[in-house]
Symmetry: C2
Subunit: 160 residues, 2 copies
């Protein structure tokens, strides 16, 4: 059995409960674990912001990136999201089926498609961006503005 190519992405809406009286041992000592718990919390905010839209964080990120970089290829999109080409293609298909994105031939490369938002996709993502940002801010409101800035700085330093 090959050692698998591993999972660690919140696939659930269930928060990670802090069960009173339970010993978390070394977990409380790991940055990775603290990150995961915070990420799940922020994910709940994201889910609230996009409720009923059938949007996931990767889908959201993809739409934003396509909108900000019209004509981007599926390969590059995959690299940005950290997924394989085939996955990026599935995303593009899904968007296209909904009429949010269209593929146009590129003059500079006969192999690649250029991805573009449709008018409808643009309207949608504009509204979504606002809602996601608002919820993100609201959830982060347990932090002061200075704390929030510091947190972002540390996270980016960590992400390298």
């Amino acid at each position: 059995m090959r050692s698998r190519a591993v999972p660690y992405r919140p696939r659930t809406l269930a928060p990670i409960e802090r069960v009173p009286g339970l010993d978390y041992d070394v977990l409380d000592d790991l940055l990775g674990y603290a990150l995961r718990r915070a990420q799940v919390a922020m994910f709940l905010a994201f889910a609230a912001a996009t409720r009923g839209l059938d949007i996931t964080p990767p889908r959201f990120a993809a739409l934003v990136v396509i909108g900000a970089n019209p004509g981007i290829s599926q390969s590059v999109l995959g690299r940005v999201l950290g997924i394989a080409r085939s996955g990026a293609m599935a995303l593009a298909d899904w968007f296209e089926a909904r009429g949010w994105v269209e593929r146009r031939r590129r003059s500079d490369d006969g192999r690649a498609w250029g991805l573009h938002l449709t008018r409808r996709g643009e309207r949608l993502i504009a509204a979504m961006k606002e809602r996601v940002r608002r919820h993100d801010r609201r959830r982060a409101a347990v932090l002061t503005a200075a704390e929030r800035r510091e947190l972002v700085r540390l996270l980016e330093k960590l992400a390298g």
Copy 2:
């Protein structure tokens, strides 16, 4: 089509590339996105620490919690990990098949099983904890000790 019960867990070893010249738009403004990138970075450290052991973060967390709380029930384990009972059971099965964990009847509750590490499981998790902690520290070494403490504090505040 029902709105799905959503994904956002790093399932891949591929880092989220920072493609030069690309516009990330609102993503750079979202705490959720910064968290995700940092989490992927820490996940790489975890994967390095457990290479070849067929261990994932949820599996690791489960073993640690079982070790620190002998006799814990599958339901509570599920709540701690943020997964459904059925998933916690699958985990327990997997551990048991490997001889790392055993189920014992509990005197106080005829329905529940108590989960316990076997001798072998104890040895394994002890070694694993050390390796994971070491890799976590090493990856976090881009931060000063004070920064690391502050980061953990902010993350826990955010996780609520």
